[in-house]
Structures are given as structure tokens and as C-alpha cells.
């Protein structure tokens, strides 16, 4: 029998979950290819979701009014009427409106909240979407022995060689989530080790997720002594990019930025789910918007000015290689969306679920080793961009102030690597000066 899943679509790169407003078809009803089956809402935008196959809507897994993560299976379409009953028997009970996630909006709640799909400002958003803590422990086995798992979990299980049938699902009605698969392989459910940019060293003392990761073995290696190990795909990509960088005439410009106000502001907004990566990306994005030269890159035709400011953030993968998930339109996207978006990107980069446009469209890159206490470093320019900023740890230092007094201030060093064909010293200096001014004097504006 052929069962086709209907997934929660992504209406936006900043959308992590959507609300089902209405099912336009009832279970058992016939659907034509291209016909609208349901309507999904995110903020003040509605989208009709269409059937890609003709057949019958067999099962609605998420009722109208409920909220589901992007990519979640929300309904099933079968090809023949006879298959409806089979699919029904195999499927878990539909999730009622209030159940699916901690921030799910029951219809009444949706009225109170101005923007239903967004979590209430006070609700902390973990960097990684963790399965809803529903006390379900029974592996869901349908009548035909089918295991119920999210598409992401299935893909991940296939990649990691995990037998789904052996797992207990933590999702709604015991559905197996990607996190369950990760846990089964012994992978910690956390952000990648070098990933979550948590610049100031405070993250080491209990920051926003990176610090919560279990202690990594000292010094990562991919092979044993005496061995030569082939590059994996991701590592090969890094090799190509690094070799390509040798053709680019780069130079470096450094700047010391005082972060006391940024750190204080971060403490205020941390509870709202804001991450240091999002703060830094937003600061860089806003500054880039005023310094388009730093957002430009060299091309055969000349200096290319991208249509938007997309800040890529370098993330090291546990299994080797490096990926640069992109915070699109970082200058125009609000801080809270950036934070949520970053959490989602990191989670999906770990499970190799990123679409190419989510890691290849950066126009400027941020690399942060601050969480390890690194006090300065420089970065290699990714191909197709004009500049990358290396951010080191923020540390208390004895500083001589302008009025001649001496005080302890938290300072971090940033180091810009730029392609001199496009970006000159004065451009880099002006950009860094403005970035420092924003971080030192007006960090609150990052939330506007």
C-alpha cells in the first residue's frame, strides 16, 4: 500500500513550527493532486497546503488548532479507499490542539497571544528543540507492527544505523523523535561542541547550552596513532575551501571591544531565549547594513553586493568538518527570531538536515572560539565572501580609561580577515569602529 505523508511546511526560514488553522478535507474524503488539503498559519500569514498525490485523506494526525514543528507528519494520504482503514489502524491517535508542544496554543490561548506561533516572551527557548516532556514511554507499534517516528527520526536512524523498533519514543503518543535516535547512539542531545557561539567566557561557567554539553574528550582526533584516515565528505569540502582561499589576497585588522554592557544585556535577555550567537550576529548584521562594502565580495564581473545581509556562523561538526549555517537577513530579523532560528539551524546541522541554501548563502561569516577562553585568533576567508570576523573570549582586564583612571573591564578581541581586492583597511576600520560602538554603547538596540 502506498501511504503519503503530509508534512508541516516551512513558510519561512525563521519558522520552526506552524499552526494548523483548518483542515479543508475530512478524513476519508477524496483529494485531487494540487488540491488544498489544509491551511497552516504562522504570524499573519496563511498558506494552503496542497496534496502532491491524488487519493484519499486517510488520517489527520494533528487537529486544527494544534501546532507542529516544521517537517512533522501531520496527515496521511492513501491511494485507494480500501487503504483508509489500514492507514487509520496503523496511525497513532490524533494529537489534540493543546498537547503537542510546550508552547502549543489552544484556541483560547491563541486569542490572548498576539503572535500565536511565537513562544511567549518569557518562555525560555532552548537552543535545541527538545521533545516535549510528555510522560509517554510506550513504543508505538501499529497493528501491522509499523513503528511511528517523525520523518527526521527515520532519516537520522537510517544514517546512524539505529533500529527504530528498538527505541522508545518521547514524542506525542510515543512517536519516535530525532532526539530519541540521537540518544540511542549515545550522542548527547546538545549543540555541537564547537558550535554554539557563546562568545564571552561566561558561557564556560554555565552559558546557553554549549556549557551544558558533557565534557568532551581532551583533543579530538579522527584516527589512531600510525593510521592515515581518508577525509570524509565534510572534511573534503573544508579542504577544497581552504585551498581556494590561497588565491585570495587577505589581510587582518584587529579591534578590542569592551563587553560589560553587552554582557549585562545578555543576562537580561537570556531568559527570553536569546543566545550570544544571535546577539553577535545581530550586531554584525546591523553594522554590515551600514557598511555594505564589508558585505561585498570579489567576482569575475567586479565587486558583487548581495541583496541581503546573511550572517553565516561557523559550526564545527563532531564527526569532522565544518558547516556555516546562515542567519538570513540578520540585520532585519529580530533578535528573538534570530535566536530561535539559530537553535533550529544548529539542531538540523547536527542531523545533517540543512538545505544547501541554509549554509551556502552567507555573505559574511562569524567564527567564535570565545567559549574556550581563546584570547585571539584569525580566521580563513570562506570562498564567495569578502570578510570573516574571528571573535575571541571576553575577559576581565585592567583597562586605562579615557579620563586616566584605571578600572577592570571585560574586553574581547575581534579580528577581521578581509579580501583586499574589495575591502580596504579604511573600510575594515570603519566597520569595526561602528561594531564596537554598537556593542559597547548601545547593545539594547539589538533587541529593537
Amino acid at each position: 500500500m502506498a501511504t503519503h505523508e503530509i508534512f508541516m511546511p516551512a513558510l519561512s526560514s525563521t519558522m520552526t513550527e506552524g499552526k494548523i488553522v483548518e483542515w479543508l478535507k475530512k478524513p476519508g474524503e477524496r483529494v485531487e493532486r494540487g488540491e488544498s488539503v489544509l491551511v497552516v498559519e504562522s504570524d499573519k500569514a496563511d498558506m494552503d497546503v496542497e496534496a502532491f498525490q491524488e487519493g484519499f485523506l486517510a488520517v489527520v494526525l494533528m487537529e486544527a488548532g494544534s501546532t507542529a514543528p516544521v517537517g512533522e507528519t501531520i496527515g496521511l494520504i492513501v491511494e485507494t479507499e480500501a487503504e483508509i482503514a489500514v492507514a487509520k489502524a496503523a496511525a497513532p491517535a490524533p494529537v489534540a490542539a493543546a498537547a503537542p508542544t510546550p508552547v502549543a496554543a489552544a484556541p483560547a490561548a491563541a486569542v490572548a497571544a498576539p503572535a500565536p506561533p511565537k513562544p511567549a516572551p518569557a518562555a525560555p527557548v532552548p537552543p535545541v528543540p527538545v521533545a516535549a516532556p510528555l510522560p509517554v514511554a510506550v513504543p508505538v507499534r501499529a497493528g501491522d507492527g509499523r513503528v511511528v517516528a517523525t520523518p527526521r527520526a527515520r532519516k537520522l536512524a537510517a544514517q546512524l544505523g539505529v533500529a527504530l523498533a528498538s527505541l522508545r519514543g518521547s514524542g506525542p503518543n510515543g512517536r519516535i523523535q530525532a532526539e530519541d535516535v540521537e540518544q540511542a547512539t549515545g550522542q548527547p542531545v546538545s549543540v555541537p561542541r564547537v558550535a554554539e557561539g557563546t562568545a564571552p567566557a561566561m558561557a564556560v561557567a554555565g552559558g546557553n547550552g554549549a556549557a551544558a554539553a558533557p565534557a568532551a574528550p581532551a583533543g579530538q582526533a579522527f584516527g589512531r596513532a600510525g593510521e592515515t584516515v581518508a577525509f570524509n565528505t565534510l572534511q573534503q569540502a573544508v579542504v577544497r575551501n581552504m585551498n581556494a582561499s590561497l588565491a585570495v589576497p587577505c589581510f587582518h585588522v584587529g579591534y578590542t571591544i569592551t563587553t560589560d554592557r553587552l554582557d549585562a544585556f545578555y543576562k537580561q535577555v537570556k531568559a527570553k531565549g536569546v543566545t550570544m550567537t544571535a546577539l553577535l550576529a545581530k550586531a554584525v548584521g546591523m553594522t554590515l547594513a551600514r557598511h555594505p562594502q564589508l558585505n561585498a565580495s570579489a567576482s569575475d564581473a567586479g565587486m558583487a553586493y548581495p541583496a541581503s545581509v546573511n550572517v553565516a556562523v561557523a559550526v564545527a561538526m563532531d564527526d569532522g568538518g565544518l558547516i556555516t549555517p546562515v542567519l538570513a537577513a540578520a540585520d532585519r530579523t529580530d533578535l528573538y527570531s534570530l535566536s530561535r532560528n539559530w537553535g533550529d539551524l544548529v539542531a538540523r546541522s547536527r542531523s545533517k538536515q540543512l538545505k544547501p541554501e541554509e549554509y551556502t548563502t552567507g555573505t559574511f561569516t562569524l567564527s567564535n572560539l570565545g567559549m574556550f577562553g581563546v584570547d585571539r585568533f584569525d580566521a580563513i576567508l570562506p570562498p564567495g565572501t569578502g570578510a570573516i570576523l574571528a571573535v575571541a573570549a571576553s575577559r576581565p582586564v585592567v583597562a586605562a580609561l579615557k579620563d586616566g583612571s584605571i578600572a577592570v573591564r571585560r574586553q574581547m578581541q575581534v579580528n577581521l580577515t578581509a579580501d583586499h581586492r574589495v575591502i580596504y583597511g579604511t573600510h575594515a576600520a570603519a566597520f569595526l569602529k561602528d561594531l564596537a560602538d554598537l556593542i559597547e554603547n548601545r547593545p539594547e538596540t539589538l533587541a529593537l
Binding site: D43, K44, A45, D48, A328
Partner: protein
């Protein structure tokens, strides 16, 4: 996308009843679905007084019996809560293939806000966005409401900017479900301003933001009377 792609502009001369304009939008959307190479289109008009409810809208925001509305009431296929339309309010309904404009509904909402913010700037006013509250605001009052719908990334509905005219109709509802957020019109700041003066600014800002060149419809592209 390539800058200055042509787009068809439909401008109504007189206030249009909501169902008629909705029908136009759906016909334009249908055209795009049937012919993906068809150009983007834009409707600029004012409505005769009415209320509209988004698909997920709550009736609790109506200050009247939905069976006995003081003005015509329509439940329509856009996101968002109840709003009011009437003469003096410029309504812009873009029927765009959003996949050519970023393929991102949230960015589209932000882009529509950009358009209104640009118009305000040209009028010497500094409008603002409020986090989580789609729309354009001036001194804490809402000047423009935004709500969109899409099918296969072809948009309909759009933005409504209050220029002059009465705001009385808003008193019977909780606009957009926001009880403590008053509604305003541009004429509250610029008393002699008319929709006719704002319309060209709005169209120019829209064309600029979306990289479109607006042109009138050709005879075969008509929507019947307008």
C-alpha cells in the same frame, strides 16, 4: 530576481465592495497558478465600509453579534484577526509569486512593513515595527494592518494603510485582537493628506522594494469592470 520585472497594476477609481475585490484577487491568483509565467499583479483600492476576519480569527474581538453586524462582515482566507476597511484607507493587494521574492512568508510580511515605513519616511514621519505585532506603528498607534494568504506561494491579501476618513468602524472591534493598541491614520499627523496623495508614494515604494515596474493591464488582462 532581476530588477524591474514588469507587474500589472490595477487601480480602482471608486470604493470597491470587499467581495468584488476578493474575487479579483482570486482570479489573479488562479491565473498565476494556471500560468506560472504570468506577471505579478497588484490591486490598489479603497473598500466600502466592512469588517473582515482572518481564517483563525476569534469572534471574541467583535463588539457586536456576528449575525447582526453593523457593517458587512466577511470571514476570509488570510492570517490574522478582525479588521475594518473603509474609504480613506488605501488597500494594496499584491498577487506575487513569492518564490520569486525570497520564498519566505515572514520576510514578505517584513517587506510589506518596509513599504509602509518608506512611505512614512517620505512624509517626514518615523514609523516603527513592534516585535511580534505585524503592522506599522506610529507613536504607539497602528497605521497599517498587514495580513496575507498564499497558495503554492502565490500571495493574496496584503496591507491596509489608514490615510484619512473615519476610524469609527474600528471602535466596534478589537482590531487585530490587540485591545490596548489604538488605531490611527496619517491625517492625525498631516491633516490635509489624502489617499490620492499617498497612493503614488505607496506604489513607488512597493515597486522599489520588490524590484517591479508597474504597468497598466492590457485589454486581455482585464478583470471586468474596475
Amino acid at each position: 530576481m532581476a530588477p524591474n520585472t514588469p507587474a500589472i497594476l490595477f487601480e480602482a477609481r471608486a470604493p470597491v465592495p470587499f467581495p468584488l475585490a476578493w474575487d479579483w484577487q482570486r482570479r489573479l491568483q488562479r491565473r498565476r497558478l494556471d500560468d506560472p509565467s504570468a506577471p505579478d499583479a497588484l490591486l490598489l483600492l479603497q473598500h466600502t465600509p466592512c469588517y473582515t476576519l482572518g481564517r483563525g480569527a476569534s469572534l471574541a474581538h467583535l463588539g457586536f453579534d456576528p449575525d447582526q453586524p453593523p457593517l458587512p462582515l466577511y470571514r476570509i482566507d488570510r492570517g490574522g484577526e478582525v479588521t475594518h476597511h473603509g474609504p480613506g484607507q488605501l488597500v494594496l493587494y499584491p498577487v506575487l509569486d513569492l518564490q520569486r521574492h525570497g520564498g519566505d512568508l515572514h520576510l514578505y510580511l517584513r517587506a510589506l512593513e518596509d513599504v509602509v515605513l518608506a512611505v512614512l519616511r517620505e512624509l517626514g514621519l518615523e514609523g516603527e515595527r513592534l516585535e511580534g505585532l505585524t503592522g506599522v506603528w506610529l507613536e504607539g498607534r497602528k497605521l497599517a494592518a498587514i495580513g496575507v494568504g498564499a497558495r503554492r506561494w502565490i500571495s493574496q491579501h496584503g496591507l491596509a494603510l489608514n490615510v484619512d476618513g473615519s476610524l469609527e468602524g474600528f471602535k466596534a472591534i478589537v482590531p487585530c485582537g490587540l485591545a490596548d493598541r489604538p488605531v490611527a491614520r496619517l491625517a492625525d499627523w498631516l491633516p490635509s493628506l489624502t489617499p490620492e496623495q499617498v497612493a503614488p508614494l505607496l506604489l513607488a515604494a512597493f515597486a522599489r522594494r520588490f524590484g517591479l515596474t508597474l504597468r497598466p493591464p492590457r485589454p486581455q488582462e482585464g478583470l471586468g469592470e474596475s
